[in-house]
């Protein structure tokens, strides 16, 4: 085994230095970091539990709207209150939604996640007096411990700290007996059942972990971007982007989803700036990955490193 710690350290230093390159690069990288956590959280379900969620925007939107609604209706602007509130909200939603979804597997699970995310989308869209409907909610003038965050660069560091902390915590969770049990269930549900493992409980656990981390990244997304709308944070295409990022990077690798989130975010920004047809490109990329690199970028890299 080679030691990759040096690679991780170099990546961390580079991420720390990103703001030198200007506001736009900082903004893009901030988004990539947030989507990276969301894709990683999706992979807790997809890669480690074998459940494909096409509705994780539900949690992303839940975190984002918790922030938005608290600011809009209660004038709460302290991030140290908004952030834990988002965690609590996504936890509660994950438990309720998970209770319905984890009784199903495979395609049934996937379709249920879509339908339940659509329920929240429909509510955010239609309850205009509360959620602002299509126009969404503006999120501004937020404080951390009394200090107002004004520049995107300051916010970038908040996002970076969240990103590093999330990776470390998710790594620990997935290496723990809990994480290993999830993989055992993924590989053979029957064998795990014979070993006396409560499958539902573990699947619900994975669902909650995925939901809470996605919710946190959604909350920071709202704060970082300053503007949320149903289509942006709750739509099917948002859920689909998390899936596309995860597959692009490689769902069999721990860092795959992060790599996918970075490549996807930069590529989207680049293609949108030079051509009108980002959607066509995105569609062709997704179809192309499925056809030619089904294990994603990191899956391919790891295969080459192992040398077979």
């Amino acid at each position: 085994m080679r030691d990759y710690r040096i690679v991780y350290l170099a990546a961390a230093v580079l991420l720390f230095l990103v703001p030198i390159t200007g506001e736009y690069a900082t903004y893009l990288t901030g988004l990539a970091l947030l989507f990276g956590v969301a894709a990683l959280a999706l992979n807790v379900l997809l890669g480690y539990t074998g459940l494909l969620s096409f509705g994780n925007a539900l949690f992303f939107g839940c975190g984002a709207y918790t922030v938005g609604l608290l600011i809009k209706h209660f004038d709460i602007t302290a991030i140290e209150i908004l952030f834990p509130a988002s965690i609590a909200a996504s936890f509660v939603v994950a438990v309720l939604v998970g209770f319905i979804c984890v009784r199903h597997t495979r395609i049934y699970f996937t379709m249920l996640t879509i339908a339940l995310a659509s329920l929240f989308y429909a509510l955010a869209h239609k309850l205009r007096p509360i959620t602002g409907g299509d126009d969404g909610i503006r999120v501004y003038e937020t404080y951390i411990f009394g200090h107002e965050i004004t520049s995107i660069i300051e916010f970038y560091y908040v996002v970076l700290i969240f990103f590093i902390a999330s990776i470390l915590i998710l790594r620990i969770i997935l290496k723990s007996p809990f994480g290993l049990t999830l993989q055992a269930i993924r590989d053979s549900e029957l064998r795990a059942r014979f070993a006396g493992i409560s499958i539902m409980k573990y699947r619900l656990g994975a669902f909650i972990v995925s939901g809470v981390f996605t919710g946190m990244s959604g909350a920071l997304y709202a704060l970082f971007l300053g503007q949320i709308s149903p289509d942006d944070v709750l739509g099917l295409t948002r859920s689909g982007e998390f899936v596309a990022m995860t597959i692009l990077g490689g769902f069999t690798s721990f860092v795959g989803p992060i790599v996918g989130a970075f490549v996807f975010t930069y590529l989207k920004a680049f293609v949108s700036s030079v051509a009108l047809y980002w959607y066509m490109v995105a569609g062709i990329i997704i179809v192309g990955i499925v056809l030619f690199v089904p294990m994603g970028i990191m899956g391919e890299v790891e295969r080459r490193i192992r040398g077979f």
Partner: protein, 287 residues
Amino acid sequence: MIPQIINGLIFASILFLVATGLTIIFGILRVVNFSHGSFYLLGVYIAYSITRLSHDPVLYLASPFIAGTIVGGVGMAFERGLLSRVYGRGELFELLMTYGMIFVFIDVFRIGWGTMPISDPTITFMLGTVSIAGYTMPLYNIYLISIAAVLAVVLWFLLFKTNVGMVIRATSFDREVTSSFGVNVNRVYALTFFLGCFLAGFGGGLMLPITGAWIGLDIDMLIIGLVVVVVGGLGSIKGALAASLLIGLVRSFGISMFPAVELAIVYVIMIAVLIVKPSGLFGGVEH
């Protein structure tokens, strides 16, 4: 009451066409076709282009059939050319491919028909109106409901009373055994995809005079189609029919009574059905 019922039946007819396509494709290929809403939307756009050729009422009435056939052909080409290459690699990749096609279609629509919503109610004026229980409504609405009902009967006849239908049902029951009896399963797959996409495109063509098309309708249609299929039971045509009627009518009454939460009611029904009967109304398959 009458207008809500008629509107509900129109909506149910379209849902039935879309959901039956989804459910047949799933029943045979074990793939949930995420681009189904895009095939529906393609049907509306093609019907629009066909009716630009001439303002002949016959052409208007024929346009859903032509659009459906073209959309079915596009669907079959997609299944043969792309989707069939990933069979056996797991449903994740099959799903993703049909999901990716949604985006390809979005730009095809933008390039081909622009970004503005399109609609053409000409045929509803040509056919005039009809009175039912004191309510005046376009005759086209009644025509739409009747033609969907006729199509449901034709579909039932095709699947349950013909040899082709028998082969299709046999394939959905056990692919290996059917194949060992000398049936070309690939041809059954292609035919099924044609049929499913034909139904979506046909439904789209029928709706040109009523709702028309806009980008975004593809995903809306996909999601509501999935809800119908989940409520009815995945793979069950009877279930698709029952769930279409249920959701079509609920939505129609919901729109007139609780416009703010009309869509939410539909999802609440879905959740309620799934808690009571996880496999859907007519789904017998355990999962």
